[in-house]
């Protein structure tokens, strides 16, 4: 039987991208996405269920759809996007409900993949240059995003302990750059002036957005258990990243940085949430030996990720913003997925007549 995958946050960047990647895989029989809004990317066959952000109906959905894999991409890793309360609801309460549903009696779930962030390591002068997965943080977390993600990882650890037969994969991604993703980093780097902390020029590490999706796909398809750092090779000084992007440094004083960055942030001049401040002072690097051993390497180095971002930035500057994004039309999507009038093309190119839209038995091969 093919894989039946549930993706959280289908309406977010990562959920949508991951769904696209998985639905092109013939071994994946069904892709179900949950989201609070409609999906923003065009999807071939992924089904969409609207749910509130804490996923209280998840237990029923898991039972009804018999999903064997959950890919949890819906975690807030950037405090500029949502309030403290919403972050807590989405990250901690959402994950709690998700894991409760995945661990219910007689659960069909065999794998849980969680998209975490290297923010869980923090940034401090006591840090090693490269964090390994088992390296502890040097100081307790001081920002709410970090605390929230640490709590999420704690829940996942408990779940893994209680459900030894379930494959649990946790991926800690470095800060992401790429043509389409929007983060405080991409926002700052697209502007002429980019914040820094005066007197500090930390080494930073990035991962390219397609590598993030590729890695989620890799651990899902190969059922890779464990905790992994994912980042592009090498590190760059922040000043070099900024000048590669054609921007100038806007050095903030090393004392009172938080207050000033908050004020400048409120004016819309920079985006410097608290979880970035220490990063721009001390930098961060993560060791990716462990994920490499599972057979995954990032296509883009840190410098490559910056270059990929710059390419898209230059294109946008020349031709304006990207073409209007895809709009989800409930009726149209339902028609394409379920109407007997639609001739569905199987992976081998032959038309499928099965109105349920399932892959014919000949193509089914479970990994």
């Amino acid at each position: 039987m093919g894989r039946r995958v549930l993706i959280t946050g289908l309406d977010t960047f990562w959920g949508g991208r991951t769904a696209q990647a998985l639905e092109s895989d013939p071994n994946v029989e069904m892709v179900l996405g949950m989201g609070t809004r409609e999906p923003m990317v065009s999807l071939e066959r992924a089904e969409f269920v609207r749910a509130d952000q804490t996923y209280s109906i998840l237990s029923r959905i898991v039972r009804a759809t018999q999903v064997d894999t959950i890919v949890h991409t819906f975690l807030v890793t950037d405090s500029t996007r949502s309030s403290a309360r919403a972050t807590h609801e989405i990250n901690v309460i959402g994950t709690m409900n998700l894991l409760a549903a995945a661990g219910q009696a007689g659960t069909p779930v065999r794998q849980v993949v969680v998209k975490s962030s290297t923010l869980v390591y923090g940034a401090s002068e006591l840090d090693p240059a490269w964090f390994r997965e088992e390296t502890p943080r040097s100081r307790p977390a001081s920002t709410r995003i970090e605390r929230s993600l640490l709590e999420v990882e704690g829940l996942v650890r408990d779940f893994a302990e209680d459900n030894p037969s379930t494959v649990v994969s946790v991926l800690r991604f470095a800060n992401v750059l790429g043509p389409d993703i929007v983060t405080p980093f991409t926002t700052n780097l697209s502007r002429p002036m980019c914040p820094s902390v005066a007197g500090f020029d930390p080494l930073v590490q990035f991962v390219e957005e397609t590598d993030v999706v590729r890695c989620l796909e890799h651990v899902t398809k190969q059922r890779v258990p464990g905790l992994y750092n994912v980042a592009g090779a090498g590190k760059l000084p922040w000043s070099e990243v900024v000048s590669m992007c054609g921007a100038r440094l806007l050095p903030l004083p090393p004392a009172g940085t938080a207050a000033l960055s908050k004020a400048l942030g409120a004016l819309g001049l920079i985006e410097m949430p608290p979880e970035i401040e220490d990063l721009l002072r001390f930098g961060r690097g993560v060791d990716t030996t462990r994920i490499a051993r599972t057979g995954f390497t990032c296509r883009y180095s840190t410098a490559g990720a910056v270059a990929s971002f710059i390419g898209a930035l230059r294109l946008r500057r020349s031709v304006g913003s990207a073409p209007p994004s895809y709009t989800y039309e409930q009726d149209v999507e339902q028609f394409f997925r379920h109407s007997p009038a639609v001739v569905r093309i199987a992976a081998d190119g032959s038309p499928r007549t099965d109105p349920s839209g399932n892959t014919p038995a000949s193509n089914r091969s479970d990994a």
Partner: protein
């Protein structure tokens, strides 16, 4: 589906600087060497003995005594080895530097690395580099002039454990001259606590030259002697090593270094002329 974009690797992306993954820049290092050369050649008139004992390739942990309120031994050792052996030396230092604006960044660009066991292992084992540590830590440079050339405790022997785990030899270096280049008359612990530094020294240089004394060293003659490398016959990459063995080896290295310092001081006729 998003289009497959061209694969970028480190090689086809033009870098704008030569800062490596430790923050060291060969270019900045070259500038620093040029700036320090007159000081090295004419002020401290550095003389080495046994430089050939430092491996030309492969990792080695260089271990030296540490002295002078603002230690002058680290730049001298790094400068000398880079000049003579033409290979980089990474100086492992207290994390405290990293917190200081400008100083922390500059220290990192000229080859400074935070003294974290993981950093040392990666430098020595994975990359086969030379790393320099001062096992006395801040206890060395913060001691008063009256305690000169008396080695402090060598930490908890961590440097031996790191060398064992990395499978590299320890190369001890005895330094004479640093103590007299910036001797501490007394310390002000209250000020140190208030401004958050490990110690606040009042040096003879400060008393002689005023605030300039923070930067102006006395022209003490520098003599360095490299001791025979110490190889440990243990399996590398172990999580832990016998603490008694580690402490024993550390103490032996400390004793040899101390003995060598006394030997060199017995031969020294003048602080200024060697």
């Amino acid at each position: 589906m998003p289009l497959e974009r061209k694969t970028e690797t480190e090689h086809d992306v033009a870098r704008l600087s030569d800062v490596d993954e430790w923050g060291r820049s060969a270019h900045v290092r070259e500038l620093a060497r040029r700036a320090f050369a007159p000081m090295y050649d004419h002020w401290f008139r550095v003389e080495w003995e046994g430089l050939e004992k430092i491996p030309r390739e492969g990792g080695a942990l260089l271990v030296a005594n540490h002295a002078g309120a603002i230690p002058s031994d680290a730049p001298v050792i790094m400068h000398g080895i880079e000049k003579e052996l033409d290979r980089p030396v990474y100086g492992m230092a207290d994390y405290f530097f990293r917190k200081m604006p400008v100083v922390g960044t500059l220290w990192s660009r000229v080859g400074g690395v935070t003294a974290h066991p993981d950093n040392a292992f990666r430098l020595l084992h994975d990359q086969g580099q030379l790393a320099l540590v001062f096992p006395e830590g801040t206890k060395g440079p913060s001691k008063s002039y009256t305690d000169r050339y008396r080695l402090r405790r060598f930490g908890r022997g961590g440097f031996v454990e790191i060398a064992m785990r990395s499978g590299v030899p320890v190369v001890p270096i005895a330094v004479v001259g640093a103590e007299e280049s910036m001797p501490i008359v007394f310390r002000l612990p209250g000020i140190a606590k208030a401004i958050g530094v490990p110690y606040f020294p009042v040096t003879a240089n400060l008393l002689a030259f005023g605030p300039l004394g923070f930067a102006l060293y006395f022209p003490a003659k520098f003599k360095l002697r490299v001791l025979d490398p110490v190889h440990f016959d243990v399996q590398p990459c172990q999580e832990r090593y016998s603490k008694s063995r580690v402490m024993e080896e550390a103490e032996e290295i400390r004793a040899r270094l101390q003995e060598t310092l006394y030997d060199m001081l017995r031969e020294r006729r003048s602080v200024w002329f060697g």
